[in-house]
Symmetry: C2
Subunit: 374 residues, 2 copies
């Protein structure tokens, strides 16, 4: 990691070096409180997804507000967080290969670590690995609910794997995971609600089928920032996994509510702070944040404090601000806050979070698991 | 950085953990030799761009073959390489802000480090910073040759800045930089040739104008992997800055030669190695490399060893391989080499390079300046 952080505690906003990942702590804390309250009202557990923030500090802040733990997507990501003191983690993903399984089992012996599976051979490999260490690990079956990614179909295929797990001496069957990524960003409220209802339908039947075979689903986990309210009210899900609500990116902010409007109860708390580094032309300036400071898979970042300016044409270390519709000018050295299109891969580009309250830097946190892709 | 590398020297290919950045050393070395020979034949200096590889090991391999040094895009990137023993670096970019300028001047006192400018205030700031340390730094004016990014227009605006530099006690005027990123990936040979010819035309007039005012351009630097042959033969450019030729990505491989064909003298030497982690369906499998292991700004990665398979729908840590046109199946745990769409931002996602010769891991290098965005 880059050893020098872009700011020190006590600096003012304009003293921060760029590009830097800023957290507006007031909005961030409000987002955390809001989701904690929501989960409590719905009577479900909250296990926020740490693949989004990759930070032990953020995870601690979530756990302090009642989250049961966090989710990770990779074993190495969980390792970074466990080493930093986070001890209750669900890996919401398949873990394949001896080296990864060995690490998973080793970590599960010093933390409360569970895992998802969708393959019989993988279950055998995991069981053998746990047996070789004389331990028992907790496993959920991932159910494919139309996400066209991982998971086995609901019904019989899920029953088969669950049965195999219950018959494996070194595995504990904990329940089901079901997550449909593509449902999260459907813009219309009704479309997300329908998608979630279909998911819950699949799960209900499968849970009953498992019950008929004497297998209890203690936990049913899933949902994201786009659908948590539906899974939370489903009476099927016991646990919600939203991640982005803590920071809110430009993409999630495009989701509509039941009234057709886009206003969210979660505010933008994450920004990429950037400097005007070339100001030769009157109709555009160039800023120092490009493909290596921002993710573009969900479109361009937004200019937070001037909606008349558009960011475009990123290259590795540059972006262009189109000023043709703006009434104000941007001087060389001026700093601008950008709202990332997609927070997860944007965070993964940075080594540091700079927490800001008002005009002052209050915290400097590492992005604990940045680059933990194994 | 992630401390555990995905492989150790001596391992076989299939033992490498994934996702991992692989270098096929035979092709890589051939690419380096080829470009070194090209520059020599053209009678120009070669200064490869290290923003692409961010590696002191790769830079050393280039310098060992005759490169005069390397380029960087950021001061912190140069700092990482200087600390790792690379001592001749041109920052092909504007450096704005006191903290960055201070670091630049400090580094220039312990290496051969030069910089580009496009702004009078920035020149004053740089001069003041160098004066405060009682040193003198080498500066090039960046000329805007239609790239719609940084640089001042050719002719009078360039003369003005060059004059200011020659009149600044703590600056040395070294010459001009001109680079048009958008010309590099024009697919037709003739279009790239024309773009380069226009650039050289602008520069020729400007060099003459400067000469009339008693200012000599010792160095004219620019070009990339798409246009080096034209700038190299221009009799204007003294130095070439290509980066991607060392690895070649899927995007550059789409450029056509004068015969209308795409075969390049540079081969694909960089791969993201990935594992099949979910294999539930017959028409697709899921691999463990997504938005956090690959850059997508230049499109999807290619499956290196099976052109009938398409990678699609990346999410943070997943990608889908469409097998509907493939005659072979992909088993759980099978490993696949992907050719990145764009190498620069892909490399920046990884902490390690795994150098492979034949079936064996020969080298494990760090990505020295990964994340050096300041």
């Amino acid at each position: 990691m880059i050893k020098r952080a872009p700011a020190d505690v006590g600096m003012t906003l304009t003293e921060i070096d760029t590009p830097a990942l800023l957290i507006d702590l007031e909005i961030f804390e409000s987002n955390l409180n809001q989701m904690a309250d929501n989960a409590k009202s719905l009577g479900v557990r909250l296990r926020p997804h740490a693949k989004m923030h990759k930070s032990a500090d953020v995870a601690q802040a979530q756990i302090a507000r009642g989250a049961v733990g966090v989710c990770c997507q990779k074993v190495s990501e969980a390792e970074c967080l466990i080493d930093a003191g986070i001890h209750n983690i669900l890996i919401t993903n398949q873990v394949v290969g001896k080296r990864k399984l060995d690490l998973f089992v080793e970590l599960s012996m010093r933390s409360e670590l569970t895992i998802c599976v969708d393959n019989a051979q993988n279950i055998s490999d995991l069981n053998a690995c746990a047996a070789s260490r004389n331990t028992k690990v907790g496993v959920l079956v991932e159910v494919d609910v139309g996400g066209e990614r991982c998971g086995v179909p609901s019904g019989e295929p899920t029953l088969e794997l669950a049965t195999q797990i219950t018959q494996s001496l070194n595995l504990k069957f904990l329940g089901l995971q079901a997550y449909k990524g593509t449902a999260q960003n459907q813009r219309e409220f009704g479309d997300r609600e329908n998608a979630s209802s279909v998911i819950s339908g699949y799960l209900k039947e499968t849970i009953e089928l498992l019950k008929e075979h004497g297998i209890t689903c203690k936990n049913v986990t899933g949902a994201g920032t786009g659908t948590w309210q539906f899974e939370g009210a489903s009476n099927i899900f016991t646990e919600l996994q939203p991640g982005s609500y803590a920071f809110m990116d430009a993409d999630y902010a495009r989701n509509k509510n039941s009234d057709g409007k886009t206003a969210s109860e979660f505010g933008h708390s994450l920004f990429v702070y950037t400097t005007v580094m070339s100001a030769v032309h009157s109709d555009y300036v160039v800023v120092d944040a490009g493909l290596k400071s921002l993710a573009f898979d969900a479109g361009m970042p937004l200019v937070a404090d001037d909606w008349t300016v558009n960011y475009h044409t990123p290259s590795d270390e540059h972006g262009v601000l189109d000023l043709s519709n703006s009434t104000r000018r941007y001087a060389l050295g001026e700093k601008v806050r950008l709202i990332p299109g997609h927070c997860d891969p944007t965070v993964n580009l940075h080594d540091w979070y700079i927490g800001v309250r008002g005009d002052l830097v209050e915290s400097v946190w590492t992005v604990t698991a940045r680059g933990a892709v194994f």
